[in-house]
Symmetry: D2
Subunit: 372 residues, 4 copies
């Protein structure tokens, strides 16, 4: 074999009873299923509103860091630096709150791959005036290349999902830049969340060859929705100034019985795309996946967004006009239902805010599957 398979990536999905409930993760450790030191990333889907005042994200992060620092015997700061924690709020409709725990260990007796490969990397900290601009695109793109290299993924074809946590602009940062004579891409902090996600997604598109770098200008970021990545997923957070990148792919250098696959939903009700990704994973979907098949799926990662057009296949939706329920909440509920119809389970990581992450109103979908 050309590449010795020295590593194995594992994914475990555990339920949570509330955003501060890490008992599912603790049980993985207590039962010896994984070692606390092996955890490289945790994704969480919490029952907040996924919008500005969603404090379930900060709560879950604090609970995880506190718990892991106890288990590893280190400070919370060290956990923060070494474990990529991405919490996405919003379990509308029938979605079920859960964590997906990513662990990496020496291959040992693991079944030979090609297997799931996980790469983690970070950009340098961004200046306020770089957020939402081509500088952020380029730095993100470079970080993805590093994460791929670290994971031993040689071809961009083998990358199936890139989860990112990127910074946003605060009022203080906007003012600090202005004091230096620099202008930020926006002075609206809420808008900066979308622009940062947008630049991150385009960074993936460039790194994976989905969009030509020459097509990307500052003006296009967040606006030209014809430019998109079919494998990017970004969320922005106030707690960091650099971007955290988790690349999920398949690689001949990794052992284990898990692989990852993806497709792109063209709109929020694109069942066909979901069936396509299931086919890529080796299933033969006709109706809903049988229970035994669904049990082999370790994670479903999807982006959802309200179509800007105001319609789905020509029929009016109410997402944008509803002042009681935020548009992104409607979108997650819808896509959660569509994916649950295909997969037959509701513990799905459906995340909102999909600028340049799939076409308008659609989004990438990836699944991690275990093979027997």
């Amino acid at each position: 074999m050309d590449h010795p398979q020295t590593r194995e990536a594992l994914v475990f999905r555990v339920p949570m009873l509330h955003p501060g409930d890490t008992s599912g993760i603790e049980k993985l450790i207590a039962t010896g299923t994984i070692d606390a030191e092996e955890i490289v990333a945790i994704f969480g889907k919490t029952e907040g509103n996924g919008c500005v005042n969603d404090f379930t994200r900060g709560y879950a992060v604090l609970a995880i860091e506190t718990m892991l620092s106890d288990k590893r015997g280190c400070t919370r700061e060290e956990i923060s630096r070494n474990v990529a924690i991405v919490i996405s709020g919003g379990t509308e409709g029938g979605l079920s709150p859960h964590f997906a725990v990513f662990a990496v260990r020496a291959a040992g007796e693991a079944r030979p791959g090609p297997g799931l490969a996980v790469g983690v990397a970070f950009t340098r900290p961004f200046l306020p005036e770089e957020i939402g601009r081509t500088e952020q695109v380029d730095e993100t793109s470079a970080a993805i290349m590093r994460a791929m290299a670290m994971a031993g993924i040689e071809s961009s074809e083998d990358v199936h999902f890139v989860q990112m946590k990127c910074p946003l602009l605060t009022n203080i940062q906007v003012a600090e830049a202005a004091a230096r004579g620099a202008t930020t891409s926006t002075s609206d902090t809420y808008a900066s969340m979308g622009l940062s996600r947008a630049a991150s997604a385009l960074g993936v598109a460039v790194a994976l060859g989905e969009v030509s770098r020459s097509a990307i200008t500052d003006a296009a970021i967040g606006h030209d929705l014809d430019l998109w990545s079919g494998r990017a997923s970004a969320s922005s957070g106030v707690e960091l100034s650099r971007t955290e990148v988790i690349v999920l792919g398949n690689s001949a250098r990794w052992a284990g019985n898990r692989t990852v696959h993806h497709a792109v939903m063209r709109d929020g009700i694109d069942l066909t795309a979901i069936q396509t990704v299931l086919e890529h994973a080796g299933f033969q979907p006709a109706g809903q996946l049988p229970t035994a098949d669904a049990a082999r799926i370790d994670a479903v990662l999807v982006k959802a967004d309200p179509p800007r057009s105001g319609t789905i296949r020509g029929r009016r939706h109410v997402m944008w006009d509803d002042s009681d329920i935020h548009a992104t909440r409607h979108a997650r509920a819808l896509v959660g239902g569509v994916v649950a119809a295909a997969i037959g389970r509701t513990d799905l990581f459906v995340s909102g805010g999909a600028e340049h992450q799939g076409p308008d109103g659609g989004g990438p979908i990836a699944i991690i599957v275990q093979h027997h």
Copy 2:
């Protein structure tokens, strides 16, 4: 032929721009597609919250009655007495606000049936102390038998959906009953909505032979969820004291190229049930219905409800614990997504409040389809 096919039932689905927008219905009349006098029932799915303070229902009813009284040259009261108007609030997720207009005309040149049969009937007005009790069950059951007879449907097997609009208890009615020494099933007006729907649904179950009358006691109504109808759909409203019944079935006495079919969703993500009803209608569902097939579906009628268990297939849902978004809103969003996955369109009549209307967390689904 034994039964001369003297009547044809037609169904037209039209979009609405807001709850008071009857322009879609007016256009049907203006273009001669239907005559205003032919309209026997209008179902509407409006973008309100579907809960207590959903005034989109009253708004739509007032707009329809005002418009139809102009077209027919009669009073609004006459429209109210002669046209069954059932408005259901809530287009969460991707659902699209629309009206379904039911018209009946002489068969004329219509393609020979058996075709869609529509029967309308009314109970006598209920006393407050009868609401949510066996008296309501029995009167509703009798009204359904009358509606079936009127529609010339001989076998309960041929009934596929029974839509009802039933009364609720107001504080004034509770007090009036108490003044007479009578006790109502509840003094909580919100709870009375559920009990009235529950008794109505059990009336269908008895009329169609789905549940034995002897199994139904006052105590079971609203509580024993093992008793249910697979074809009942009830909504309660403050504006009436009797129950309005619209029976949809197929009959050899009706002409026309439309038929109605049903199945029962076992839970909110039961794609298999939806594929079953599509098969009954003559489709061969594998993935999502092709656009040309979907275009032949005139109406999709579904009930949705949050499972009382707190879980969907063992995984926690948050519907009951969300104090920002009402549980029924989550349920409609979920089921809307699941049905849209199968059908490929979003103008679906998904209605909440499904006591005894399908099993806990599930509900009946019916489709009206046009055959070429």
Copy 3:
């Protein structure tokens, strides 16, 4: 007396049970308190969310127009042209839904004034590219001058409240303007609501001499919050292309025992301003107004808005960051509580969206009082 007092303006406040409930108004007519023909304006405070999908406004308008066209024996269109109907959604906190009915009749035996004077006028229809720009300011200003003249109010000092209903931009209008090569002030229809209210309010400020016309540029509209009127109140609606203006003042030409007074709340908790307007009306406020005094107040008209600063007197508020409850809903609840504290009643017309209507976070307050 120089001016014969030929007219009397009356105001009646009646409760509503729901947005379509006009029974309170009908009772005024049935009891002979007012004649249907005397009604010149109706203000309504309905229990909708006051935001984009607040259909309680359209519902109330349809219900009023239908009822009044029956009473007056004319078409709904004639009512629409001749009666100014301003419905404001949102009764958060303890606010109580109600209508305020304005009627004008020959003075007859009415007690000599100076009394409450009511003037109604309309601008010409606006072109899309005029909305939110100085053209709208100037036309609105001119209409206010006409309404004052019609009401026989000679001095701008005698004007105490100007209620306006102004147009907004729809996507169709933006496109129509673009097709002609014209650019609208915004292409965001929601933003156009604020810009139209802003231009309307500045129109009042110019007409009443509160702001110099030369200070107003297109760029200042909606942005320079130091420019404001202490007597303007604007709401925008999709149903009209011109602006409707109702001027409330006191005039020696009007008979009757009612007068109107105003003050400006500097922020949402400015009790002192409320006490000032009560003093202007002849009360001697120390704590809450005694019940007998409160009973003499026929209408309380207030604007409320979340402070853009994010704080109230230096303390953080959460209005802008709450993705579950819209900021304007918080603001109405707050101001409703503050005004109810002073007046001792909750049927207050507290309206949101106060661009240039009072200082940032504050707003004008006017009361109409009956003297014995």
Copy 4:
């Protein structure tokens, strides 16, 4: 002096930027204003919805316990046992999120009292079948007597506020009791929150002689709203099985320049009651308190609840019928506005769920004031 004044109670109000932001408390410690060991209780008003899915409470508790365990060098469990942490969600309207930190230290050079006295006590753990019943009333009553004794408060007249954190029933507890043949007061876990608050409040009423013990039966708890305490404030939480009691009073045994006072709001707009408590505290309220006076108020503690009657002084409110905003959120917004009108500041601890805590629709109000 009869009683040597050995202790001083201090209260510091600090803002929070989000529910996990303890920097205000840390600054009190870092600047030497208080010693971490002196903290006996922390009240927090967070920006959650104050309802079932309000995770800001758990988040704030975790953040405080983590921070204090670092500062004190002990485990989080020790903090939990020794510091009474009461977090109340909901800052609707203009309310400002904040913490109130209670510290007790040796009197030292403190100005002689009588001063603010703080007593903390706990009941024994409750059996599920005791919750919401007279057993809970009696145990709570006894705990309050112990807290008074600990604080050296001899007369119930000197108690001005009793804050309690009481348990609720979970599904597991209901089942455990049923397995033993015991029946709980309710099987509805949400209803158990209200019943537990109700029994706690009646425990205060008995301890302070406001209600005769003989008037309290299991049936009266939560239902007979004529029985109430003017000084009780209870909130229920899932995290404890016993009740935590914090008694605030004035005592000649305590030094310091702070005192506490109370009054009872008869309804949500009872400004007169607020002026009464300000008078008790030595102010002379006419309109809003001057800024210098407001600055001397260390804490404002109020209960708010929607009137069950559906009206405020005969005028309909919409709180109960609003399915978008929970009734308790409306009530807090309203009362927050009324109290802010009087006090001139918005960092008020307005808490919902006021069964037997003041009359229906009203509630106790207490202020802690510093004297120069």
